[in-house]
């Protein structure tokens, strides 16, 4: 699978108003990518994922899936079996009388055999951690918010899309629910699928993605690996984005002259780097300047 955005712009409102949600964006997504999209509210993230899923079409430029222009209806046949999209708060779209029927819906639309559908629903319910016998024939509306979120995700994964697009998948979940959902998504990626995830959580983004696209006012602002992106403190700060907490502390320690390596994106990476530095003979510590121990964060 390869998804190419070729100089894509998306204009909203009338032509005279000339307002763009996405401007001249070129971007390529390859099989096996796990791409994070970040940018503050209004930067074009949600528009971009709708363009990627061919739910809306560019005002100019093209979106190509394996070379085929998705603006043409004939190239969108059964596209939902290839590209799955989980919008924000996907549980708001649950509708069926039972969990089984809700998860099975896309599989039925894909005209899969009923034995296959049941096998798939069982499989995905076990992946998301809902016991089939206990939950399959209950109403999804009796479940907790976290469980509903997972049912909604299973309803997308049931046709095993090659490309899974998620808009703020963990918003509003408690920490355990968030970890669990990220694990499901991470495993799906590990099985060779391509994933795009929009998130406000830099911790989540740093934890699971292997490349990041930063949007600002509909433009591509930065693009690169998490290590590259989160070394751009100043640029990210300028557009009101943060870096993971460990890197934020590491940056202020570097500023005080402690020569920590760049881009320490997790607590463990930071603790390891501090321990390693501390283990070096003190003469070899290249402390830049005398350290003032009274400082602000």
């Amino acid at each position: 699978m390869q998804l190419v955005l070729d100089a894509v712009s998306y204009r909203y409102g009338s032509a005279a108003e000339d307002q763009y949600a996405i401007r001249e964006l070129s971007f390529r997504l390859d099989s096996g990518d796990f791409c994070g999209i970040i940018g503050h509210s209004g930067s074009g993230k949600s528009t971009l994922i709708q363009l990627m899923a061919a739910l809306i079409h560019p005002s100019s430029g093209r979106v190509l899936l394996d070379g085929l222009d998705l603006a043409l209806p004939k190239h969108r046949t059964k596209l939902f079996t290839r590209i799955g999209v989980a919008f924000q708060y996907p549980e708001a779209q649950l509708f069926a009388p039972t969990v089984f029927e809700d998860i099975a819906f896309a599989a039925r639309n894909a005209q899969l055999a009923s034995a296959d559908i049941e096998r798939r629903v069982r499989h995905w319910m076990s992946v998301i951690g809902l016991d089939y016998d206990r939950y399959a024939h209950r109403s999804p509306f009796e479940l907790s918010g976290g469980e509903q979120r997972r049912v909604a995700l299973a309803g997308i994964l049931v046709v095993e899309p090659e490309l899974l697009i998620l808009d703020e998948p963990t918003a509003g979940l408690d920490p355990a629910g968030r970890r669990r959902l990220l694990q499901v998504i991470d495993n799906y990626h590990d099985q060779g699928h391509t994933v795009v995830m929009v998130s406000h959580s830099m911790e989540d983004i740093a934890q699971v993605t292997n490349r990041i696209l930063v949007l600002k006012d509909g433009y591509q602002y930065l693009q690169g690996s998490p290590q590259e992106i989160f070394s751009h403190h100043v640029e990210l700060h300028e557009i009101n984005l943060g870096v993971p907490a460990s890197e934020s502390l590491a940056a202020s320690l570097r500023e005080l002259g402690i020569p920590l390596p760049a881009s320490l994106l997790s607590v463990d990476q930071l603790a390891d780097a501090i321990a390693e530095l501390r283990a070096q003979p003190s003469g070899s510590q290249r402390v830049g300047r005398s350290v003032n121990t009274r400082m602000e964060v």
């Binding site: 355990a176 390891d272 321990a275």
Partner: protein, 273 residues
């Protein structure tokens, strides 16, 4: 008399959500309520302004029994509630009208009404958007308008149910600043949150588990209970996680250390003697 009293409160849907819960919150306290999904946080919050009434036990808000229908109006004018999703809280197509909706229902007349609206919008830094359509605002701005709509009713107690869950970093930061400022004016704040960094701003953190109080104390004290928090499926704040990781590397770290102190300690290891 404390602002909020829960006395042996039990409430069930199918399962028990609040289980013989007792606690008190005093005027001017800033309390963060944390807990896993299903721990009873939202049900707790909805008892404060009588959106729900206890099936067993009693809730007193500003001294008034929430089970007495005659008290509802007074209770709700004293205790205002902000919900997670700002989109579901907008009632008007102009920001100022939206903010005026609450006080109008309290029969506040012009020009006092306009003064209240202006003051509320000033507090949340949204005055410049008074004439805008809420639909054209960002999520964070809309949530600030929701808060202004409550403030215009001049409540003593502000209850916020995960107000930052749908917002970006900047939006959340704005809400946090407003909450802290309101608390400094003496308003009682009850903040339900999944963000431990946010809970750390409160003077008191209450951890709910299966409708009971699992932990209750100042943030540093609550966050030093790493094992309990983990068992309940909760995160630890960054400072606790780093302290733990450094301890595992053999460094001696004092218990319940703040991020500032931790940073100072790390610096001391590298200071040139």
């Amino acid at each position: 008399m404390p602002d909020i009293v829960f006395e042996s409160v039990t409430f069930s849907y199918n399962d028990k959500v609040l289980d013989d819960l007792s606690l008190e919150i005093n005027r001017g306290e800033f309390v963060a309520i944390v807990g896993a999904n299903g721990s009873g946080k939202t049900t707790f919050a909805r008892h404060i302004n009588a959106l729900l009434q206890p099936q067993l036990g009693m809730v007193l808000t500003v001294g008034l029994d929430t089970r007495d229908p005659d008290n509802l109006f007074t209770i709700r004018s004293h205790a205002g509630m902000v919900f997670q999703n700002p989109n579901t809280q907008m009632v008007a197509s102009v920001v100022a009208d939206d903010v005026a909706f609450g006080p109008e229902n309290l029969n506040v007349q012009p020009p006092a009404l306009q003064q209240r609206v202006k003051q509320a919008l000033d507090t949340v830094a949204m005055s410049s958007h008074a004439e805008d359509d809420p639909a054209e605002l960002s999520g964070g701005q809309r949530q600030r308008v929701s808060i202004a709509g409550i403030l215009a009713m001049q409540p003593d107690i502000l209850v916020l149910d995960e107000p930052g869950a749908m917002l970006d970093v900047r939006g959340r930061r704005g809400i946090r600043r407003i909450i802290s400022e309101l608390n400094q004016t003496g308003m009682t704040i009850v903040l339900i949150t999944h963000f431990m960094e946010e809970a750390a701003l409160a003077g008191r953190v209450i951890v709910l588990d299966q409708g009971k109080v699992a932990l209750d104390g100042p943030p540093a004290e609550v966050f030093s209970e790493a094992n309990v928090l983990r068992q309940l499926g909760l995160d630890l704040p960054f400072s606790s996680l780093l302290a733990e990781a450094l301890s595992a590397q053999g460094f001696a770290i004092p218990e319940s250390i703040s991020l500032d102190d931790l940073k100072e300690l790390i610096c001391s290891w590298f200071s040139m003697q």
